[in-house]
């Protein structure tokens, strides 16, 4: 809310309304309070109001209860990260008040439930603008005694709507859509709770706000989370079979595919374990149509042997890894980017495979389609490595042109004269499999196998064939590397510092670049989406900078570099490549990146 024009409230009069271009709102409570629902409504409203929006949330890994937050940043212009500090903090309990007051910017507004938040330190009252309302009691007043905690979130949404002059009819419609199909009383109660909050005068507030019109005017926007976008991307790509085992935060994807795929004639199977799910997906892929499996950290570790088989047999496959804090059970609901090594190298033997990381919710949708196309074109497993920072984040993005982008990848069963899947003389060097059920007129049928094999897939102990086949599996991905688009530098192509990002760190890193440049520092950034193989020509980009810092959410490791930094150093032997890493389980704050850059360039 940097451009807020402060206007003093008239004594006794209604609060002034200030025009703002963006705001960061943090809502803190417990996980059963429906906090994510309010955040979701706000994000969806922003999307429908042609605003940019980005959210950030933490959910406890406990089954019920435990602190939970949702932060939403709404902007009339480009929004790159969920925001370092909140402009408004809404808190339901004493612990949420104490735990999150530090995230509020100085002079920010804290709106609290005075039924639960009782202790306010005097020094805080001077630092932040406090507005206490007995929210819990007001909800009971608004919707009757039965509602209790149930309507609190929607009541609070009403308060926020009032504070930011949000469009009430649109919010009413969202509430109705949300509760459509349930007892109509549910929607009525929700609207009553909302109206209760909205009709509050907020007389204690010095000012109220109104967003400037969004820059995406006329743009047909869609609002969803990263996991949803990825799952829908797979459907658009033509994937019709998947198999998985529940694990946070991957489960959302499998739940969605389980529910949606039958509409398209497909199936998603819940398996007995992670190994069964990857095996089943590989079996279905061999059946003729690229299938998907996925997991998070520990589950990916279990799948590695079978992924190695898919590398060896050269069967296309898409594996989704929604990273979480590791190792082992680690931090199941926190963000980390520490699975890059297992994605690129997990497995025994030389097993080259493709690894791609989406950088935003919108990118999740398109990356899923690309992953399927790469898997087919190069007959290889492709790992989509996403992270909690995108998986649970909600964003608004432009409605994809589904009629153009949806693909049909139905297998072709036309008989062939002859077939050698592992043909060493294939002009493009890529293996092609026939779906079982395809007649081969020569009567010579191929086998797919994990043993080193000849061109028909029959096992061989020949050192010469092992050399040739190993080279074949490597070279096809080198060829892919040469076809990858070289990423564009964000900012000028020359300067002092080049920040490198991957995955969800793209937004905060680009915002850091903007802030650094505004302060007169020659900082640019480069986002690497295709991580294995990497595109060629990065060394030429590095030449333009004195420092190359790789910003990633993992540990600096034994040798002082994060996982991507170590890969880049191994490839380019360039000592100016260094790491900026952290493992606190939270996404990057812009400030943290800039502080580290300052220290490392001194």
């Amino acid at each position: 809310m940097s451009d807020t024009t402060t206007a003093a409230a008239q004594a006794g009069g209604p609060p002034q309304i200030s025009q703002i271009s963006e705001a960061v709102i943090r809502i803190a409570g417990n996980s059963q309070d429906g906090i994510q629902a309010i955040g979701g409504f706000l994000a969806r409203l922003a999307g429908r109001s042609e605003q940019e929006v980005m959210t950030f949330m933490t959910i406890p890994s406990t089954i019920s209860g435990g602190p939970s937050i949702f932060q939403v940043r709404i902007g009339s212009g480009e929004v790159l990260s969920a925001g370092d500090e909140a402009d408004v903090l809404l808190c339901f309990y004493q612990h949420s008040y104490e735990g999150h007051l530090g995230s509020l910017k100085k002079g920010g507004i804290v709106l609290y439930d005075s039924d639960h938040v009782k202790e306010i330190k005097p020094e805080n009252e001077t630092k932040y603008r406090h507005i206490g309302l007995p929210i819990s009691s007001l909800v009971v007043e608004a919707i009757g005694g039965t509602g209790r905690d149930k309507g609190k979130n929607v009541y609070a949404l009403g308060l926020i709507a009032k504070m930011f002059n949000l469009e009430v009819p649109k919010l009413h419609r969202l509430l109705q859509e949300r509760f459509a199909g349930k007892d109509p009383k549910v929607a009525e109660t929700a609207i009553a709770a909302f109206n209760g909050g909205y009709s509050h005068t907020l007389a204690a507030a010095a000012e109220l706000f109104k967003f400037k019109p969004g820059e995406n005017i006329g743009q047909n926007q869609i609002v969803m989370g990263g996991n949803e976008a990825l799952a829908y991307g797979l459907i658009a790509a033509g994937v019709r079979f998947g198999a998985g085992y529940p694990i946070t935060p991957w489960s959302d994807i499998m739940e969605l595919l389980r529910k949606e795929l039958p509409k398209y004639g497909g199936s998603f199977i819940q398996c007995e374990d992670e190994i069964a799910s990857v095996s089943m997906a590989i079996g279905a892929s061999w059946g003729g149509r690229v299938a998907v499996t996925g997991s998070s950290g520990p589950g990916i570790a279990l799948k590695t042997e079978a992924i190695g088989w898919a590398v060896m047999a050269e069967v296309p496959l898409v594996v989704v890894d929604v990273q979480r804090g590791g190792p082992s059970t680690g931090m199941p609901t926190n963000v980390e980017q520490s699975d890059l090594n297992i994605a690129c190298f997990g497995g025994h033997g030389d097993s080259p495979r493709v690894v791609i990381a989406p950088s935003s919710v919108e990118d999740c949708f398109y990356t899923a389609i690309e992953a399927v196309n790469i898997a087919r074109k190069y007959s290889t497993p492709v790992i989509i490595i996403t992270d909690q920072g995108i998986a649970t984040r909600i964003e608004a993005f432009k409605m994809p042109e589904l009629n153009k982008i949806c693909q049909d990848i139905t297998p072709d069963f036309t008989p062939v004269a002859d077939h050698k899947p592992y043909d060493l003389a294939a002009p493009d060097g890529v293996t092609r499999h026939l779906a079982p059920g395809t007649r081969v007129a020569s009567g010579k049928y191929p086998i797919v196998t994990g043993l080193e094999h000849d061109e028909l897939g029959h096992p061989t102990g020949s050192p010469k064939l092992h050399l040739q086949m190993t080279a074949k599996r490597r070279n096809k991905l080198r060829k892919l590397g040469a076809e990858l688009p070289v990423p564009a530098v964000f900012g000028p192509p020359e300067g002092q510092v080049l920040l490198i990002s991957w995955g969800s760190s793209k937004g905060p890193v680009e915002e850091a670049v903007k802030q650094a440049r505004a302060a007169g520092n020659a900082v640019s950034s480069l986002h690497i989406k295709y991580l294995n193989p990497m595109p060629n020509g990065l060394e030429k980009i590095f030449e333009g900078f004195s420092h190359v810092f790789v910003v990633e959410l993992n540990d600096e490791g034994l040798y002082g570099y994060g996982q991507l930094a170590a890969l880049l150093r191994a490839r380019y032997c360039d000592s100016k490549i260094r790491g900026i890493t952290k493992v606190d389980g939270l996404t990057w704050k812009v400030r943290e990146i800039l502080d580290r850059v300052n220290v490392m360039t001194k």
Partner: protein
């Protein structure tokens, strides 16, 4: 809309061997397959191995049932017996140790037009793949699983297997195995397999008869076929071989194959035990359940192209 770096492409299917189109061939014009048409690599098994007989009877089954090459799908895990797909001239997959069943489930569930045969050994089925055995049986995924049980690990050269009897001396139990062996029949019945049968490699007619019945069963059909390892456990099944002084007792004619408890009781005796179909019931397959879910879901969208189905969802997310 962002442009895709890798848009969808029409892929050539057979590399340099794609030598033009193949004329259609009417079923009536196709010659029945003979053994020589379906035999591929020469088996790598030791001379005298029981697995030869299972392979020969699989060929016979293909011949007898007039199957076409492309409709034969053979899947295996790891072990001596799991080399099976290499010896069959048909589409086949040699997967990783213990995971043949989930792989085959992926084929079966995504390709209902194929009947998948899975061959493997006792280690694959009951040790490393034990979890998958239970769940594939429970889900009743349509396929035939033939376990060639030799009571020993042969490929790795004589270690104790999950079906080795107590007292069996192997390289990992030089003083004799002390672990209670798994009873494959009981395991299959308890897991919920809908077709459970037992046979032995020394009775070819019986093997073929059981294979046919298994193939005709709509569901997960499990066959335990005793298959002697002449190298490491010779004589293991002499007790079930009348030519070696043993007996071949059939499942009694009055046995009710739908009686789970009776089937369980039949499984008590391990050697020679009974031979034939112990248990056979009809229960909806996973394949049928999925097909039903699909048809219910498709009703609402039948006339729509895929992109419009997705568009309906996206319109709700505005």
């Amino acid at each position: 809309m962002p442009t895709l770096a890798f848009p969808s492409e029409a892929l050539t299917r057979t590399g340099s061997l794609n030598v033009g189109s193949v004329p259609p061939l009417a079923d009536a014009d196709r010659k029945p397959l003979m053994k020589k048409d379906v035999a591929a690599d020469h088996p790598t098994w030791c001379p005298g191995c029981g697995d030869f007989s299972v392979l020969a009877l699989y060929f016979k089954l293909i011949e007898k049932r007039k199957m076409h090459h492309e409709k034969i799908t053979t899947v295996a895990g790891i072990g001596c017996s799991s080399r099976f797909p290499y010896f069959v001239q048909a589409h086949g997959a040699h997967f990783i140790h213990g995971r043949a069943l989930p792989f085959a489930s992926g084929v079966s569930l995504s390709r209902p037009d194929l009947h998948v045969f899975v061959f493997g050994g006792d280690g694959d089925a009951f040790s490393i793949g034990g979890n998958h055995f239970t769940h594939t049986a429970r889900k009743n995924v349509k396929m035939t699983y033939c376990v060639m049980d030799n009571n020993v690990y042969g490929l790795t050269k004589n270690q104790t297997s999950p079906t080795s009897p107590i007292g069996y001396k192997s390289k990992t139990d030089v003083w004799g195995s002390g672990d209670r062996p798994i009873n494959p029949m009981k395991q299959a019945i308890a897991a919920g397999a809908t077709f459970v049968a037992r046979t032995t490699h020394t009775n070819p007619n019986h093997v073929l008869q059981i294979m046919e019945a298994a193939m005709d069963h709509d569901g997960f059909s499990f066959i335990e076929c005793l298959s002697e390892c002449v190298e490491f456990y010779p004589g293991a099944f002499d007790g079930a071989n009348p030519r070696k002084g043993g007996q071949f007792p059939l499942v009694p004619e009055n046995h009710d194959v739908t009686d789970e408890y009776a089937a369980y009781q039949l499984s008590e005796d391990l050697m020679p035990g009974k031979f034939g179909i112990f248990y056979k019931v009809s229960r909806p397959t996973k394949n049928a359940n999925e097909a039903k879910i699909i048809s219910t879901n498709r009703e609402k969208f039948a006339a729509l192209p895929d992109w419009q189905i997705l568009q309906k969802n996206f319109d709700r997310m505005k």
